[in-house]
C-alpha cells in the first residue's frame, strides 16, 4: 500500500540534507588548504621585497643626477658595501628581530669577445641547491674604466689595461637569488 507518509519523510529528509550540506560547506570553507599552486604567493612576496630593495639602491641619492649607490658599488667591486646596504634593507624589521632572507648576488656582463660572463658580488651564504630561491635582477650602466681604484683598471676581469674595446660605458645586470632559511 502506498500512503502519504512518504511525503512527510521526503520533506524532512530534504530539510535534513540541506542542513547537512550547509554544515559541510561551512566547515570546508573555514579551513584553507595549502595546495601546490599556492607556493607562488610566498615567492611573489620575496620577489617584491627583493626587487624593491635592489631598486631602492639603484637610485641616486636625494634626487641628485649621478651614479646610484648600486652602480658605485659595482664599479668599485665593493662587495662589503653591497652586503651592508642590501642586507639591511632586506632583513631589518620593526619590533621583532631581523628577518632571515639569504641572498647571493652576481654581476652579469658582456665580455670583450661578446660572451656573457658573471662575476660574484657577495652573498650571505652559499647556495647549495636545496633552497627554493627566487631570482631578481636590476639593469645598470657602468663605466668599465675606474680610476678611483688603486691601481686604476677596468672593472670587468677580462678587460686588462685601458683598451678602447673594454673602456667606456657598459650595460650590466645585477642578478640576485633570494631564499628564506
Amino acid at each position: 500500500m502506498v500512503n502519504s507518509d512518504g511525503q512527510l519523510f521526503t520533506i524532512e529528509a530534504i530539510a535534513a540534507s540541506l542542513i547537512m550540506m550547509a554544515t559541510v560547506f561551512i566547515v570546508v570553507n573555514t579551513t584553507s588548504v595549502y595546495t601546490p599552486g599556492d607556493t607562488h604567493i610566498n615567492d611573489m612576496q620575496l620577489e617584491v621585497i627583493g626587487s624593491d630593495a635592489l631598486k631602492a639602491m639603484n637610485y641616486p641619492d636625494n634626487g641628485t643626477i649621478g651614479k646610484s649607490p648600486l652602480i658605485i658599488i659595482v664599479e668599485n667591486g665593493d662587495g662589503d658595501a653591497f652586503y651592508t646596504l642590501f642586507n639591511k634593507s632586506l632583513n631589518n624589521r620593526m619590533g621583532t628581530g631581523p628577518d632571515t632572507i639569504q641572498f647571493m648576488a652576481n654581476v652579469t656582463y658582456v665580455n670583450r669577445t661578446g660572451m656573457i660572463n658573471s662575476t660574484p658580488l657577495n652573498m650571505s651564504r652559499p647556495l647549495y641547491g636545496g633552497e627554493h630561491a627566487v631570482h631578481i635582477s636590476q639593469w645598470i650602466i657602468v663605466d668599465s674604466w675606474n680610476d678611483h681604484l688603486v691601481p686604476a683598471r677596468n672593472i670587468f676581469p677580462e678587460c686588462p689595461g685601458s683598451g678602447s674595446s673594454c673602456s667606456g660605458k657598459h650595460a650590466a645586470l645585477v642578478e640576485v637569488l633570494l631564499w628564506r632559511d
Partner: protein, 127 residues
C-alpha cells in the same frame, strides 16, 4: 515503486538518493580544491613584470647616451642590452632610433619586448 507493500522501502530509497547526491557534491568540491590557484600561479609566474620594467628603464636611459669618439658608448650599451636580455632573461628586445614628428619637437621611441609567452610593445614619447 507502486508495487512496494512496505513504505520503509521508500525511505531507504530516498536516503540512498540523498547520501549519493551529497557524496557527489562533496566529491566535486574536493576535486575543485586541488586545482584552485593553478591558473593564477601560472599566469603570475609567466608574466615578467619586473623584467619588462627593467628593460624599458635601461633602454630609455641608453637613448640619451652619446656615442663618444673612442668608446661608442651608446652603440655598445644598446648592443649589450640586447645580448644580455636574450641570454639572461630569454627575451628578444628590439628598439630603434627615435623618429621625430613634423615639427621636430616630439620624438617617438619604439620599444619591443618578447619572451615567447608575453609580448610588450611601447611607443615612448619624448618630451
Amino acid at each position: 515503486m507502486a508495487r512496494l507493500k512496505d513504505d520503509t522501502a521508500q525511505w531507504i530509497v530516498l536516503m540512498g538518493f540523498i547520501v549519493s547526491f551529497s557524496l557527489f557534491f562533496l566529491a566535486i568540491m574536493l576535486n575543485q580544491s586541488t586545482v584552485v590557484g593553478q591558473t593564477t600561479a601560472e599566469a603570475v609566474s609567466e608574466f615578467p613584470k619586473e623584467d619588462i620594467r627593467g628593460v624599458r628603464n635601461v633602454v630609455i636611459q641608453s637613448m640619451f647616451m652619446d656615442d663618444a669618439v673612442n668608446f661608442n658608448n651608446k652603440t655598445t650599451v644598446q648592443r649589450e642590452i640586447r645580448t644580455l636580455s636574450l641570454s639572461r632573461q630569454n627575451a628578444v628586445v628590439f628598439f630603434s632610433p627615435p623618429i621625430f614628428d613634423a615639427n621636430g619637437t616630439q620624438s617617438y621611441y619604439f620599444i619591443h619586448y618578447n619572451n615567447g609567452v608575453s609580448a610588450y610593445n611601447e611607443t615612448w614619447t619624448f618630451p
